[in-house]
């Protein structure tokens, strides 16, 4: 057989003909599922594989005191609808208050149900996160959610392939978030449209699973259908002992290790990024491609769209990015809400205080992340510095719950999107790593984290 990429192997193992893909795992949350369940009911259909489906509540949920009722009536109705739907259709559900509740892309890997070689879908574009395990994982719309619920398959065509090789190792203070932001800056926010990406190279191999998830998570931010990192010892060590690994571990590893790209497998496109040359990155505009190093200046707008972005962000071309005051800091999300992210941020914060006038928020990606962080005292590090320590959810990444920034407030955020209004109407988002966001919190401005360590 000809040399194949990991994506092509997964495709071949799941394709029914050349236009239908079998789905191994379907993740469900409250926002993109109610119309899908309603569609099933109207057509008299059932969920084909509840045992390959799992649901949680993340987008809407309040992250403060869980003993208080949800004040947002419409959000509460949506959460109630999910609770009714999973009951009716027999789907396992980790709702608000459950010890396993959390952001859908955090809990899948955490439970070990995200594994190499799988096909994974969810009605959320950041489903690409699960690609870090060598799975083919991508976001779908609500009609497709209904289709998967009913048939466990999805109409799909084979995508083009693209390999990104990060060469060299990044310097101190530069991590996974900087690698992916630097890549998107190089290739623009539409650079991988119609492609399934494979990330590789020394810098990727050196990353923890958490770092790899940060990279795969943002695949959608440059338009990729999905973004894989093929499995290795780091992947296997992460999965060992988790409840989703339900077969003898050695046997599982043998199966998983098949899902790497063969030597000589051809990609439709190849891109290189010099990881060693990257400084810490942050966005300056209103899409993730509008990124610059913290050592740089606000760029001169190249067209009307970039001028619009600068106007929205309240920035002036030619001014240094470093030193720009921030109003809020958000540490969390499916991009950077895992234990390793919180540890990295805490290291910067330890023994310091949040700058006067800055509101800083830490939202663990799951209740398990929260418990683990508390077990090692990270909650106290953050609280003593003046951060708010919250419960799990998507929170201020998209501001569907009450965690939003005000008009013209500038936010240093570890999330994945800096679109206009994303974190609140007229709010100004700068995407960056957890270390950079922590540094912004304690200095009160955009700052090169390398100056603090």
């Amino acid at each position: 057989m000809a040399a194949r990429t990991a994506y092509e192997k997964i495709w071949d193992d799941h394709a029914l003909g050349n236009d239908l893909l079998y789905v191994d795992l379907h993740l469900v949350h409250e926002v993109t599922s109610p119309q899908a369940f309603e569609g099933l009911r109207l057509a008299g259909r059932t969920v084909r594989r509840p045992d390959r489906t799992i649901a949680t509540a993340d987008h809407n949920v309040p992250t403060w005191d869980l003993s208080r009722p949800i004040e947002d009536e419409i959000a509460r109705q949506q959460l109630d609808a999910l609770a009714r739907n999973v009951e009716e259709f027999g789907i396992p559900y980790y709702g608000l208050g459950h010890r396993r509740q959390g952001i859908v892309h955090v809990i899948g890997p955490e439970l070990g149900i995200t594994q190499p070689g799988m096909t994974i879908v969810c009605g959320d574009s950041h489903t690409s996160t699960h690609g870090a395990f060598g799975a083919l994982a991508f976001g779908i719309g609500t009609s497709e959610v209904e289709h998967v619920l009913a048939t466990q398959t999805l109409p799909q065509k084979r995508a083009h392939t693209l390999r990104v090789t990060f060469t060299g190792l990044p310097g101190a203070g530069v991590g996974a978030k900087d690698l992916i932001l630097g890549l998107i800056a190089q290739e623009t926010s539409a650079g991988a449209t119609n492609h399934v990406v494979e990330y590789d190279g020394e810098a990727v191999r050196a990353l923890s699973m958490e770092g790899r998830m940060t990279i795969s998570n943002m695949s959608i931010e440059w338009g990729a259908r999905a973004g894989l990192i093929t499995p290795d010892e780091t992947t296997y060590r992460f999965l060992e002992g988790r409840p989703g690994v339900q077969e003898p571990f050695e046997q599982a590893v043998e199966r998983w290790s098949h899902y790497v790209s063969d030597a000589g497998a051809a990609f439709d496109r190849e891109i290189e990024v010099d990881a060693a040359a990257l400084a810490p990155q942050l966005t300056w505009g209103t899409n993730p491609g509008q990124t610059a190093p913290i050592t740089g200046v606000v760029p001169t707008p190249a067209d009307d769209d970039e001028q619009r972005a600068l106007d929205y962000m309240g920035l002036t071309a030619g001014e240094p990015l470093a030193g720009t005051p921030v109003d809020r800091v958000f540490i969390g999300s499916c991009t950077n809400g895992r234990l390793g992210d919180l540890r990295a941020a805490a290291e910067i914060v330890r023994g310091k205080r949040v700058a006067p006038g800055v509101q800083a928020l830490v939202v663990p990606g799951s209740m398990r992340v929260k418990a683990e962080a508390e077990a090692e005292g990270l909650d106290r590090v953050f609280a003593e510095a003046g951060f708010e320590w919250r419960n799990a959810g998507c929170s201020m990444c998209l501001g569907m719950n009450p965690d939003v920034a005000g008009p013209k407030e500038r936010v240093a955020s570890t999330s994945n999107r800096n679109f206009e209004g994303r974190q609140g109407r007229l709010a100004r988002t700068h995407l960056m790593s957890p270390e950079m966001a922590a540094a912004a919190a304690v200095t009160g401005c955009l700052v090169d984290v390398r100056e603090l360590v």
Binding site: M118, F138, Q152, R417
Partner: protein
């Protein structure tokens, strides 16, 4: 699903690149559990600006929207397609679209047409002059009368032309799904066994 064959009418122009689905329909409207009624929320924040192009009265009944590259990027929210359809758009023309958005449109009787930059520019400059999108012939007729061919996935075209229900079509292949589960399905993980 409403079927699509030929649409003729005024063209509304939105000359911006990278229009994301957060702009098309902001998050506060995603809490609703209905599938209809989203047209009134289309471009909610942008529409507050009197100068926002789609506020122009001559665009009010346009069935065709022409926009910049990478239209529909970002979130997978199908509410974006529901809002555009709810407002009366039947076809969107742009130099490129984001994958998930394009797929969502196809499930809702909304045709996405990729045309070269120059043709998109011509449509924008002539807006609101009427154009025709013919899915059967795969032709856009520009206001000048010039005909431009476009490519469209054959399966998407078939489903749109016939107004077919995707799930119904797939369930006709239930034997192939059964066979996959019997012969090729990977061993777990089962979410019921966690």
């Amino acid at each position: 699903m409403e079927h699509f064959d030929v649409v003729t009418g005024p063209v509304a122009a939105l000359d911006r690149n990278n229009v994301d689905t957060d702009q098309i329909i902001p998050k506060q409207f995603l809490k609703r559990i209905e599938r209809t009624g989203y047209g009134q929320f289309l471009f909610w924040d942008w529409a507050k600006d009197d100068d926002f192009p789609l506020n122009r009265p001559e665009y009010a009944r346009a069935p065709i929207l022409v926009a910049g590259a990478n239209f529909g990027c970002g979130s997978s929210r199908e509410h974006a397609a529901w809002a555009l359809g709810g407002r009366g758009f039947r076809a969107i023309i742009a130099p490129s679209f984001a994958d998930i958005f394009r797929s969502n449109c196809g499930k809702n009787g909304l045709l996405t047409v990729e045309l070269p930059e120059a043709d998109v520019r011509e449509l924008m400059e002539a807006a609101p002059a009427a154009a025709t999108v013919d899915l059967e012939r795969r032709i856009v007729t520009l206001p000048s009368g010039r005909e431009v061919e476009f490519e469209v996935d054959e399966d998407v075209r078939y489903r749109l032309l016939g107004g077919h229900d995707d799930i119904g079509l797939t369930l006709q292949r239930a034997d192939a799904i059964d066979e996959h589960e019997r012969d090729r399905e990977r061993p777990g993980p089962s979410t019921l066994a966690l």
